[in-house]
Each structure stands twice: as structure tokens, then as C-alpha cells.
């Protein structure tokens, strides 16, 4: 929040003065009100159990993260550029392989990737869109520079918190919203629906859109309910759908109804037991054949995971240059690919300074934060790397930006990241702001909700 010179950075000016006038006790009361609101609405992360004490709240911090219009402008352009290029990359690797032929991305890294789906080759998708919903994780490392940490192109979650966090902030600080012009986020469900309808196969009349959930035992079930509810579409499970004569239908009390677009919150492997995992009852038998013949559109498409892989990540700047002929607006974190002998050597020599990640890992699991790890942990991790170097990458420990956060004894800086949500279909857009995640433990860099991170509302000020 503070500038290098030590003063309060200008976007925070007004809110900072508001905090100065607010006793700490009042702020804590507001936080409790927020928790109460979330619990009553059932806005919880679900871990299922017998006695009902099974629903965890993700900690909510009542101090917003604030971005100026200028800062946002750059981020927005950068995210749109990145997702546009990645969609072109996906289309290419399932069609003509030009980027591979040009020698920019190694062949085995694409076709040998376990997230690559040969079943999707030569399948033409409406408007050429693969990742209809993307979550780009960003961190700020200086006054002027943001890094992209990862591109989530499969089924990124968290957008319900963006909307609910705003909702609760409007209740807690109505006066703050009266004083500043904060760009609204509430139209996300409308935008999402509009984009989903735009990628429907050619149908007569209005296309039918549904949200496909793995079911009530899924940890993000609340978000699935929320999005279906806000868009006014059906929330279906695999068993509600069936395939017949080249179309997907849902079972309703009025008989079968054809489904045109499925916003699926189910991983690739579970979508179709005939093709992927035969033991899964979550999907729809025959779904893939309908996708291939163009009878239904899945959002996101099958096989997008190849583009958000941590090894492909290192090529994204080249991918942007190749397809768009532009310089990337947002930088990657400098990354060492451990399948290269010299980079592996360097990384192992600097084990105590770097952050190590599994190429296919997600959710902050399987990481080694060098400076924070014990000697024994480092040695154990080193053994794992040496066994299979290509499965790991390394990055420098970043001086992540912090944001003032309410902690036990007052307000203190805590590290944050930012996930804007990028929608593609009709056109590529980003809602202003995104999900700010905050590492609540002092000094910690891990913001994942599965590991004790919290969330904040993100404000983009209108100029």
C-alpha cells in the first residue's frame, strides 16, 4: 500500500483516512458481521462430515486491495493479450501445429503432455475458443511491475468470492462507496451467460446453457450453485444428462430437453466414462462424441490443460509473439526448467534461495519454498528432483507486494496475489478487479485457501 518513499500510495488515500477514523474494535465487529453473512448464505468451502460442522469459511479480510484506473488498464490489456494468444495456441496444437513446426515449442512438450487430448484433434470449436473462462494469477513485485504466476485454463474457481466479497463490502462500508467510484463487478454472471450463449452450436431459437457440477460433495459446490442461480440456468449433474442421436439432453419433468452449452466444473478425466475414466459416474457416456460432431459446446473445451502446464508456461511470451506479433504486456516469473542440465545445476546449487514447484501440481501443494524449508526438507526434495528433473521447475523467491490486513493485534502488511477472471466467446473481456488472496500468516507467501489463505475485495477505481 505504501510507496517506495514511504507515503500512502494514492489509490489508498481515501480509504486510509477512513480507517484512521475507525477504531480497531469497530473494524473487528465488521469482520464478524461479514463472517455471519457468509455463514448464513452458506458461502463456504465444503469438507463433508456427519455433524454439520463440516463447512469452513474462507477468512475474509475487510480491508480492500485497491488498484488505480491506470494500473488496471495495463493488467486488463495484459490478461486479454495472454488469453487471446493461449486460445490461438490451443487451436493450433489441435489443428495445424504451426508453432511446433516453427520450432518454438518442442514437440514432445505438447504431444507428450498428459493433458493433451488427441481426441480433440481437428475438432472445430465455435469461434475457435477453448478457454472460455480463464483465471490469470498475478503477483506484484514492484511499483510498476506485475508477474504472471500461472494461467488457469481448466476450471478456475473463486469468482463467487469476488461477487460476494463486494456484496459484503457494500454493506460494511457504504460510505466508502459513496466517496469513491469503484468499478462494479456484479455483471459477471450476465457477461458469462452472454459469452456462453455466443459459443453455442447453431440452433434454432435460444440456446440452452447449463452448469455441470460433480455434485454436492465437491468443495466448490457453493460456487456452482451460485453461478447457476445468478445466470438463471439449470445446475445439472452427470446423471441428469444423456446422449441420444448426436445431442445431449437433460431429463426434466416435461421430458428430455436439448442442451447446447455446458459450463462444466468437472475435470476432463471425468467427463465421459466411455473415453476417459470408466469408473467415474460423474460424467455423461458418449459426451465426447457429441462434442466432436459439434452437437454441444463445452466450456472450457476438453484438453485446455496442456496450455496452463508449468512447463508450457515458460513459453507463453514466445507464444504471444508468435500468434499476435506483439510484445507481452505482462512478464513471466523468471523460471528455471530443470530438464535443462545447466538450469538444473544452477537450481540445485541455489536450493536455499529458490521456490520449487511440480510441473503438473496445483493448489500450492508439492512446493518447496527454499528459504523457509529446513535442511532435511531440502535434502528430501532434492532427491525427488534428481529422480525426475523434468517434473519440476524453479523460480526465484519473489518480494511479493503486501496489503494492509486486519490481524489479531491491529493492521499489518500481508502478502497478496490477484486472480482476474478473463471471459472469451463473444469477445474477450475481464471484469475489473478479481480475486485477491492474502497469506494471513506473517511472512508467508502461500495464499491458497486450502492452506490457510484468506480473501479480500479488490477495487478498481474509475478515473
Amino acid at each position: 500500500m505504501t510507496s517506495p518513499a514511504g507515503g500512502v500510495r494514492s489509490p489508498y488515500g481515501r480509504f486510509s483516512r477512513l480507517l484512521d477514523d475507525l477504531p480497531l474494535k469497530r473494524l473487528k465487529t465488521k469482520q464478524n458481521e461479514a463472517d455471519e453473512f457468509f455463514r448464513k448464505q452458506g458461502i463456504t468451502f465444503l469438507t463433508y462430515g456427519e455433524d454439520g460442522s463440516d463447512e469452513r469459511l474462507i477468512p475474509f479480510d475487510p480491508i480492500p486491495r485497491i488498484l488505480s484506473a491506470g494500473e488496471w488498464e495495463t493488467l486488463q490489456k495484459g490478461c486479454i493479450q495472454r488469453v487471446a494468444a493461449l486460445n490461438m495456441f490451443l487451436r493450433d496444437i489441435y489443428h495445424d501445429h504451426e508453432i511446433v513446426k516453427a520450432g518454438i515449442v518442442p514437440e514432445d512438450m505438447v504431444f507428450g503432455n498428459e493433458a493433451y487430448r488427441p481426441e480433440m484433434r481437428e475438432v472445430d470449436l465455435p469461434r475457435g475458443v477453448y478457454a472460455h473462462i480463464a483465471g490469470v494469477d498475478l503477483v506484484r513485485i514492484s511499483e510498476s511491475e506485475f508477474y504472471v504466476l500461472e494461467d488457469n485454463l481448466r476450471t478456475p474457481s473463486g469468482v463467487s468470492y469476488v461477487l460476494e466479497n463486494r456484496e459484503i463490502m457494500l454493506r460494511l462500508f457504504p460510505e466508502a462507496f459513496a466517496r469513491e467510484r469503484v468499478a462494479p463487478v456484479g455483471n459477471y454472471p450476465d457477461l458469462l451467460l452472454r459469452n456462453l450463449r455466443a459459443v453455442a452450436p447453431d440452433v434454432l431459437g435460444d440456446p440452452t446453457v447449463v452448469v455441470l457440477t460433480p455434485g454436492r460433495f465437491n468443495s466448490a459446490y457453493f460456487e456452482h450453485v451460485f453461478l447457476a442461480d445468478q445466470m438463471g440456468v439449470e445446475l445439472v449433474e452427470g446423471s441428469d444428462l444423456f446422449v441420444k442421436n448426436g445431442h445431449v439432453y437433460m431429463r426434466t419433468t416435461e421430458g428430455p430437453v436439448q442442451v447446447d452449452v455446458i459450463y462444466r466444473r468437472l475435470d476432463d478425466e471425468f467427463l465421459d466414462p466411455l473415453i476417459f475414466r470408466p469408473d467415474s459416474a460423474l460424467g455423461v457416456a458418449g459426451l465426447l462424441s457429441v462434442v466432436r460432431s459439434g452437437g454441444v459446446t463445452l466450456a472450457n473445451a476438453i484438453g485446455t490443460g496442456v496450455a496452463d502446464d508449468k512447463a508450457i508456461y515458460t513459453f507463453v511470451p514466445d507464444i504471444i509473439r508468435f500468434y499476435l506479433g506483439e510484445e507481452p504486456i505482462l512478464s513471466n516469473v523468471p523460471t528455471y526448467r530443470l530438464d535443462k542440465a545447466d538450469e538444473l545445476k544452477y537450481a540445485l546449487e541455489h536450493l536455499g534461495e529458490l521456490v520449487f514447484k511440480e510441473v503438473h501440481g496445483s493448489g500450492g501443494y508439492g512446493m518447496l519454498v527454499g528459504p523457509a524449508a529446513s535442511k532435511a526438507e531440502r535434502e528430501a526434495y532434492k532427491a525427488r528432483i534428481e529422480a525426475n528433473p523434468a517434473a519440476f521447475i524453479a523460480q526465484p523467491t519473489l518480494a511479493l507486494s503486501t496489503c494492509p490486513t486486519l490481524v489479531k493485534h491491529g493492521i499489518a502488511p500481508r502478502h497478496v496475489d490477484l486472480r482476474p477472471f478473463v471471459l472469451s466467446g463473444e469477445e474477450t473481456t475481464v471484469i475489473p478487479g478479481g480475486l485477491t488472496r492474502v497469506a494471513l500468516t506473517e511472512g508467508s507467501l502461500v495464499v491458497n485457501s486450502s492452506q490457510g489463505g484468506g480473501t479480500k475485495d479488490t477495487w478498481v477505481l474509475e478515473s
Binding site: 448464513k40 448464505q41 452458506g42 456427519e50 455433524d51 454439520g52 455434485g215 454436492r216 450453485v225 447457476a228 442461480d229 439449470e234 445446475l235 445439472v236 449433474e237 446423471s239 441428469d240 444423456f242 446422449v243 441420444k244 439432453y249 437433460m250 431429463r251 426434466t252 419433468t253 416435461e254 421430458g255 428430455p256 466411455l274 457416456a285 458418449g286
Partner: protein, 317 residues
């Protein structure tokens, strides 16, 4: 609406109604066993409570001879008994969780709070709670759920499937409770239609909230055949078979749409048989046979509702 949603909602209200009815059944057994003229020991009053259910083998194997303690445990607390109060309210809450987009937040909160209150309840805690006040509380929670549904839910398909479940379950229960108690309440050798123990019949009427209604309707001593008439044929009694079918016919008409449905035809048939029936004829031909037949037809209607609305498409690849 999705077939699965319709099914979840239909069963949600059936479960709530079933829990309420279990509480009512236990309540009447409890009242009767404590009345001055109670004869025949514990078993006489508690066996009928389990005989209302479709199958007694599980009970006999697990609990043996029915007694106050074990019947209450079986019907209120036993999670292995799918019709126990706890099982039903747990299942209702599960269904509500699955249908968060179809129910209102007030409905969800009513079911959620109910379950959180009784999750983990055991025999010792229930005794401390007090049987009568526990039964009353269960009834209140059921009233609350119905009231909240009525007061907050739009009159669309969700509402109709909830109503259908409520009245189908209620009709089943009223018929069963009447059948079982009617025979218990007739002393050996006394003809159906004679004057029997006032207290015992009073307890039965109270268990279906019909004691005062009986007085208002007949202004007479309690006579078994009139009790039967009240609970089978009177259209103005909220728990009578006739009223349940008035409600179901209305609901099925609202759900009718363009396609004629077998369940509608079936419901109209049963409705007519109640609307034009006379109690003395029913009693002469055999009340037990009448009720038995009714339970079977009502059950068939329930299955047909599921076939018509909830299995809309063939299960095939």
C-alpha cells in the same frame, strides 16, 4: 424443471411429513399408555406404532419385543431405520442442500437448523429433553418448514412437487394410523360402531390434531365410525384422506402441461372414490379392507408420479 430436482423436492417434503407423522404416532402411543384405562401392558400400546410401518422384520431382529424405550429409539433415533425421525430429517436436509437453487434460503435454514439441533441425539439426551416436548418440537419444525415454504416459495413447479410429496405422505399415514388404532381400540367382542373408551379415542384424535374438530363437527360423544368418517371423508379436515386428495388433484392440474399423465388419472379415480363414499357402507364392507386397499392405491400413485415426472428419459447411452 430437472427430473432430479423434482424428485429431491418431492422426497424432501415426504421426509419432513414422515418425521412429523412418526412424532405423532409416538405421541399417541405415549398418551394412550398413560391413560387410566390402559390395559394389556406396554406391548399393546407400542406394537401398533411399529406395525404402521411397512415392515417389522428389522425391528424384531434388532430389538425383540416392543417396549416404550425400544420403540421410541427405533422410530425416533435409529439411523439404520430409514423412516426414523432422525433419518428423515437428515435426508430432507441433504435434499435441500442439493437443491439450493430450487428452495428459498429460509427453507434451507429451517431444515439446516433442525438437523443441527438433533444431529448426535441419543436415548439419554432424548430422555432429558422429554419425550412429549421432543415430539412437539418435531411437529413445530415440520409446521415451520411448511409455513416457510408457503410464505416464501414462488408457486412454480418446485412448490407443486413439494405439495405433492406432503399430501401423498400424509394420506398414507392417516390411513395407516387409523387402520392400526381402530382395531386396537375395539375391545374384544364389541361391534364396530359401539361406544368405546373415550380417553383412548380422544388420544387418537389429538394425535392428528382433530379432537376439537370432532367436537365441532359432531357435537356428540366420540364414536369410532364418526372418527373414521372424519379422518377419511371430511373435506374440511386437513389430515383427512379426502382433503389430501383435494390438494393433490389441484397440484396435479397445475403440473399437467400438455401431456396427459397416468398419475393424474389415477389420482382422479381415488379422489372420486373418496368424494362419493359413505361411511356406513365402508364400515359394513369392512373398514380394514377399505384402508388396506387405499394404502395400496396411494402407494401406486406415488410410484406413478415418479414414473411420470422423474424418469423422463430412458437410461441409455
Amino acid at each position: 424443471m430437472l427430473s432430479r430436482s423434482a424428485e429431491d423436492l418431492y422426497w424432501m417434503s415426504r421426509y419432513v411429513e414422515r418425521a412429523e407423522n412418526a412424532a405423532r404416532t409416538l405421541d399417541v402411543s405415549y398418551r394412550m399408555s398413560r391413560l387410566p384405562s390402559a390395559t394389556g401392558g406396554e406391548e399393546l400400546h407400542w406394537r401398533p406404532a411399529i406395525e404402521i410401518g411397512p415392515d417389522t422384520t428389522y425391528f424384531e431382529k434388532t430389538y425383540g419385543e416392543p417396549s416404550e424405550a425400544n420403540v421410541i429409539k427405533y422410530m425416533a433415533l435409529d439411523l439404520d431405520n430409514p423412516s426414523s425421525i432422525l433419518s428423515c430429517l437428515k435426508a430432507a436436509r441433504e435434499n435441500a442442500r442439493a437443491e439450493r437453487t430450487a428452495v428459498t434460503s429460509e427453507m434451507w435454514e429451517a431444515l439446516n437448523a433442525t438437523w443441527l439441533e438433533i444431529a448426535g441425539l441419543n436415548a439419554a439426551k432424548l430422555e432429558r429433553w422429554g419425550y412429549r416436548s421432543f415430539f412437539d418440537w418435531i411437529k413445530e419444525r415440520s409446521h415451520l418448514f411448511r409455513g416457510v415454504t408457503f410464505g416464501t416459495l414462488p408457486r412454480g413447479d418446485a412448490f407443486h412437487f413439494l405439495r405433492l410429496g406432503t399430501f401423498l405422505e400424509r394420506a398414507d399415514n392417516t390411513a395407516r394410523i387409523l387402520d392400526v388404532k381402530y382395531h386396537v381400540l375395539l375391545p374384544e367382542g364389541e361391534e364396530v360402531g359401539g361406544v368405546v373408551d373415550y380417553y383412548q379415542w380422544g388420544a387418537l384424535l389429538r394425535s392428528v390434531s382433530a379432537f376439537r374438530a370432532y367436537r365441532a363437527a359432531y357435537r356428540d360423544a366420540i364414536r369410532p365410525w364418526r372418527v373414521a368418517e372424519l379422518l377419511i371423508l371430511r373435506p374440511d379436515m386437513p389430515r383427512s384422506l379426502r382433503n389430501c386428495f383435494d390438494e393433490m388433484i389441484q397440484t396435479l392440474e397445475a403440473l399437467a402441461g400438455a401431456v396427459p399423465r397416468d398419475c393424474h388419472r389415477l389420482a382422479v379415480e381415488i379422489h372420486a372414490s373418496l368424494r362419493f363414499a359413505q361411511i356406513d357402507r365402508i364400515v359394513r364392507a369392512g373398514l380394514h379392507e377399505f384402508l388396506d386397499d387405499f394404502v395400496e392405491k396411494n402407494n401406486e400413485l406415488g410410484l406413478q408420479v415418479q414414473r411420470d415426472f422423474m424418469m423422463a428419459a430412458p437410461v441409455e447411452a
